[in-house]
């Protein structure tokens, strides 16, 4: 697992690895040719969703144009081919995540659904009144609310690991919060609002010393870092297709086989059964037990094409390049008077949440939009993070493999314009 620290040598943006050519990468993403308000699109909202490479668009289009059929159903040729493509995508995601076997990958709608699945099918039957689920302050709402719901259903208690002023997970407090009643730890790999990369390997190690399973929310990690669930030894890991430049409406849950095998189904319907009668129903095996109904076949196949694309470029190359962008952007934004960065963790992904004086982030976002620059403004579905820093919102530039230092320069010029309007 590659984690990178911010204070790298300045000017390192000039020394990119030869294997990474950002201009070539940009040509893979047709939307980057667009103009917005007469200006070239500068897309810096990658933590909300990633843009799609042509290879992924073509795969989905080809599937619908020439290969569409339901899976695991027919004896006809199209159905057999669609089934092979769908299961082939599962194997690709398995390799991408470093899982031991393809059955450990469950296709879901989103990382949100993956977490809800674990909350309802793993935690709910396990939790007793007084048991504890341990999350952190920096979680996305999708890694908070499913646990609140299951705690309410079972009489369990939600405990929260605090973060420090830099937006880092407070490890000692975490160790103190682990108790004899802790039944599950859930933590984000990378914070969507702050960019913090959490020490998930250590978090898991400490939890496992007490036989507590750990779920990692990897929605923000998958597009930027190499993931290896075997090396992490996590029990569950959730990813989101659209955030890693794949289709929306598809995500994946990794779960250790023994855990998944023991869990009851999440939803009932077709596909998840072996036989149905009114006297009783026999459930299908993992992973089909958790994939009731016709799944998002095109989405899964598209996700397969997405991981092919990312692996072809190489997650380590992406992480190195994005770190250089982060260093460049951090220096450039910090040099603008009145700009305050929220989230200054030592280990950080390329996310820059910031405030410009007392100018409201929505006004910042609108003026940047007029310059063709897309940033997210608001609470980023992480209101507890905003509360932690005593603010209601930030503007957030979140970078990806196709962003350039020229685009950072455009952002900095845009922020200059914001200051001028409100000067």
């Amino acid at each position: 697992m590659r984690t990178t620290a911010i204070p790298a040598q300045p000017g390192s943006a000039q020394h990119r690895p030869d294997s990474f050519d950002v201009e070539r990468v940009r040509r893979d993403f047709p939307i980057l040719q667009r103009t917005i308000n007469g200006k070239p699109l500068v897309y810096l909202d990658n933590a909300a969703t990633g843009q799609k490479p042509q290879a992924v668009i073509d795969t989905i289009s080809r599937y619908y144009a020439a290969e569409n059929a339901n899976i695991h159903r027919g004896v006809h040729r199209l159905s057999v081919d669609a089934t092979a493509a769908y299961e082939g995508a599962r194997a690709k995601v398995q390799r991408f995540m470093g899982a031991a076997r393809p059955e450990e990958i469950i296709f879901v709608r989103s990382a949100t659904e993956a977490i809800n699945l674990v909350a309802q099918a793993y935690a709910r039957p396990t939790l007793k009144p007084g048991d504890e689920v341990l999350i952190s302050t920096m979680e996305h709402h999708s890694n908070i609310v499913p646990w609140q719901i299951v705690c309410e259903q079972t009489g369990s208690v939600l405990r929260v690991v605090p973060i420090n002023d830099a937006g880092e997970y407070m490890f000692e407090e975490y160790e103190q919060l682990l108790s004899s009643r802790t039944r599950l730890v859930a933590v984000t790999h990378v914070s969507n609002a702050l960019g913090t990369i959490n020490p998930v390997r250590r978090i898991i190690e400490v939890a496992h010393q007490r036989d507590i399973p750990v779920l990692v929310d990897g929605a923000q990690a998958a597009p930027h870092l190499a993931i290896d669930v075997k090396e992490l030894d996590c029990d569950f890991y959730a990813i989101s297709g659209h955030k890693m430049f794949g289709p929306s409406g598809i995500g994946a849950l990794y779960g250790k086989y023994e855990l998944l095998d023991d869990m009851p189904p999440y939803q009932g319907g077709g596909e998840m059964i072996l036989s149905v009668s009114f006297e009783g129903t026999v459930y299908n095996h993992v992973p089909h037990k958790f994939e009731a109904g016709t799944p998002n076949i095109a989405g899964a196949i598209g996700l397969g094409a997405t991981v092919d694309y990312l692996q072809q470029i190489g997650l380590d190359n992406i992480a190195t390049y994005e770190h250089e962008l982060l260093v460049y952007a951090t220096e450039a934004l910090s040099a603008v008077p009145d700009v305050r960065l929220i989230g200054t963790a030592r280990a950080k992904a390329a996310v820059l949440s910031f405030l410009v004086g007392d100018i409201h982030p929505h006004d910042v976002g609108t003026i940047l939009d007029l310059e063709g620059i897309a940033v997210r403004t608001g609470h980023h579905c992480a209101q507890p993070v905003m509360q932690r820093f005593g603010i209601t919102a930030t503007a957030r530039a979140s970078l990806a493999l196709y962003n350039t230092t020229a685009e950072i320069d455009a952002l900095v010029a845009g922020v200059g314009k914001v200051r001028k309007v409100f000067g």
């Binding site: 409201h360 929505h362 006004d363 609108t366 608001g378």
Partner: protein
């Protein structure tokens, strides 16, 4: 006028910088809280009525320039006006921001509130301007629930 200067007119920037009537009003005949879940902004509107006439009106809360200026200019415009005039102005204001067929005839004039016409080109920002007016409606009815833009 560019979209930028059309949206952030000097009048709006001035009211954002020094909002009028931003204070608590107690006791109040009407009070309501508004919330925009998209940005987390909150606004509270206080009303003091003399029969059908708005004797005093104030607001609390902080938000973007559009929402702060909207609250400031709304309170300034409505002081001394009747409840029915206030409702009619809200309808006109809403149409200014959303209706492409103009704001219609009759009733009180929008006057300076027409400065918000530029918001129409920014659909994502219309709620910033209307939240305080929706909250006013609730304050007139002295409703307990929080008004949401969603």
């Amino acid at each position: 006028m560019s979209a930028l200067t059309d949206l952030y007119q000097q009048l709006i920037l001035d009211h954002n910088k020094s909002p009028r009537n931003r204070r608590k009003l107690e006791p109040a005949d009407g009070r309501a809280e508004g919330y925009n879940p998209l940005c987390g902004d909150r606004v509270t509107v206080y009303l003091s009525l003399d029969g059908d006439i708005v004797r005093d009106i104030a607001f609390e809360g902080s938000g973007c320039a559009i929402s702060t200026a909207a609250a400031s200019m709304m309170t300034q415009r409505l002081k001394g006006k009747s409840v029915s005039e206030a409702k009619s102005l809200f309808e006109k204001f809403r149409r200014l921001l959303t209706d492409e067929h103009g704001v219609g005839d009759g009733g009180p004039e929008l006057g300076k509130l027409e400065a918000f016409g530029g918001v129409r080109r920014f659909p994502a920002r219309v709620k910033c301007a209307t939240l305080v007016w929706h909250t006013l409606n609730a304050a007139l009815e002295n409703r307990e629930d929080i008004v949401s833009t969603e």
